[in-house]
Amino acid sequence: MALSTNFLVGIIGIFSVSQAALMGVGAYAYAGVAMAGMPFPVALLAAVTLCALLNTVTSLPALRLAGDYFVITSFGLQFIATAVFVNWVQVTGGSTGIAAIPAPRMLGISFEEPQYFVILSSLALALASLAYTLLMRSSYGRVLHAVRLNELAAGAAGRNVLKMKLGVSAVSGIYAGLAGALYAIFMSYIDPSSFEIQQSIVILTMLVIGGARTLAGSLIGPLLLLAIPQVLSLVHIAPELLGPTRALVFGALLVVFMLWRPQGIAGRKI
């Protein structure tokens, strides 16, 4: 998800705070198709395709709105998505969610087993990282940087800024769809609470702390933020305070990094 957000926020400069909602769409799409008895590749393809299309369409306002205004728009998108997840009971299971999402089985191996799921998710991460590296090293990657740095100059050079932004939104959507599908497989249960605004902010925090526009940043950020709950579990905190404490730490880290190290640990300034 951090890589997906990196494309949108770091690479092309569309500042979205609805990435968790997009991941949720991927998770629900995967769950729905897999539970309909479709094979894993079909369910995965459905998830990434739907997310790519949806992210492309929802990024359209960013082509007309300045950055700050699109943040507000993406807030709206996030809340709409949550409302849909909660209320479209026939498809999403509503607040109860969807349970018993089937894990893929290939060559007699069930990826439900943690040791096999690690292989599946590591393979997905390796492929996603390789694709990211290839994209950024190509002339396409250079044009993306140019569009983010100076849209007017990129347009004056004959680059179709609209096409570039929509292309990156689709790529970002593919990554979100993949993340959503893997999440659904790993948890085997999804509900709207996993894809709320707080999750979007956590994903953004991963990017800010790890660092935007680099592969290393997109990997370091999630690792660090996932480690925080583990560290907090070692401290004696009342169980009811664990959630708020975690949110407080994430928020504080976000503010500290934005103020004193906006480029994150291994990235470049957003």
């Binding site: 694709a131 290839l134 994209l135 090293r137 190509s138 002339s139 396409y140 990657g141 250079r142 044009v143 940087h145 140019a146 740095l149 100076n150 007017l152 100059a153 990129a154 347009g155 004056a156 050079a157 004959g158 680059r159 179709n160 800024v161 292309g167 990156v168 689709a170 790529v171 470049r268």
Partner: protein, 276 residues
């Protein structure tokens, strides 16, 4: 050459005692009008740019020169009038489409891609769009790498033309202001456009950098490019221009050869104000 005999169709016209073919007008601007609120910045502006020549757009501040640039290149929508490139209407086309048709511009405030190297600034402006898509980058990595190498070679050749090849790997913030201005020219050249619009390419340059820029503009002209240059320095205008379009308050007051236009006392009065 008698610049006063240029027509949009490149037809035969009479000059005293000689029957010659006038240069074809590459671009014809007719009745171009642009209002900002209640203020008319371009007022039925009409001029043409003969192919292969350097035309300088001159006039006092606020004459509408940069607005004309913005309208021609699709950065502003005009309220009325037409802009035709070899007879094809440009109004209504997007910026990138206008560049692909063969009209590219530089900016007064440079607008370089500041986090990129000199050579990458040129690569992203190349007309060759091969490999500028995610599918090629991911699914044909070796081809994509070969495309990038080819583009790099092209970009280096362009940097050579503006004498910047030795700075190719430098970050754009590491080169001098004069070199940044030359990089702007290189980026415009990379688009392969026939018509180059240069917005104050010599402003703020030191004497040496200025001479260098004049040489580069001369070389571009000699290579057959058509140039429209916004320029304030009348000495440079006399050096580089084949023709002048003199604008004032959004109107074209005179078109012609530099000598004729710049020697008109009424225009000198408008340009420099009283006391000159």
């Amino acid at each position: 050459m008698n610049p006063n005999v240029i027509t949009s169709g490149g037809t035969f016209v009479e000059s005293p005692g000689v029957r010659t073919q006038a240069p074809t007008a590459l671009l014809v601007v007719e009745g171009l009008t642009k209002n900002f609120g209640g203020f008319r910045v371009l007022d039925a502006t009409t001029f043409s740019l003969p192919e292969g020549q350097v035309t300088c757009l001159v006039g006092p501040n606020g004459a509408g020169k940069t607005t004309a640039f913005d309208c021609i290149t699709g950065f502003l929508k005009s309220d009325a009038g037409s802009i035709r490139l070899r007879g094809d209407e440009l109004i209504g086309l997007g910026r990138s489409d206008i560049v692909r048709r063969g009209v590219a511009r530089s900016f007064q405030n440079l607008r370089l891609f500041e986090e990129m190297s000199v050579v990458d600034n040129v690569i992203v402006c190349l007309a060759d769009e091969t490999g500028n898509d995610p599918l090629t980058a991911v699914f044909r990595p070796f081809y994509s790498a070969a495309v990038l190498r080819r583009k790099r070679e092209k970009a280096l050749a362009i940097l050579e033309q503006v004498e910047l090849a030795h700075k190719a790997e430098d970050h754009v913030t590491q080169i001098s202001f004069g070199q940044q201005k030359l990089l702007c020219i290189a980026r415009v050249l990379a688009t392969d456009a026939k018509l180059l619009l240069l917005d104050e390419p010599t402003s703020g340059l030191s004497a040496t950098a200025l001479d260098n820029m004049v040489k580069v503009i001369g070389r571009l002209s000699a290579s057959g490019k058509t140039l429209l240059v916004v320029e304030h320095n009348t000495r440079i205008v006399r050096d580089i221009a084949d023709r002048i379009v003199f604008m004032h308050q959004g109107r074209v007051l005179a078109e012609g050869d530099p000598q004729t236009v710049l020697d008109r006392s009424d225009l000198v009065e408008i340009y420099f104000g009283g006391g000159h």
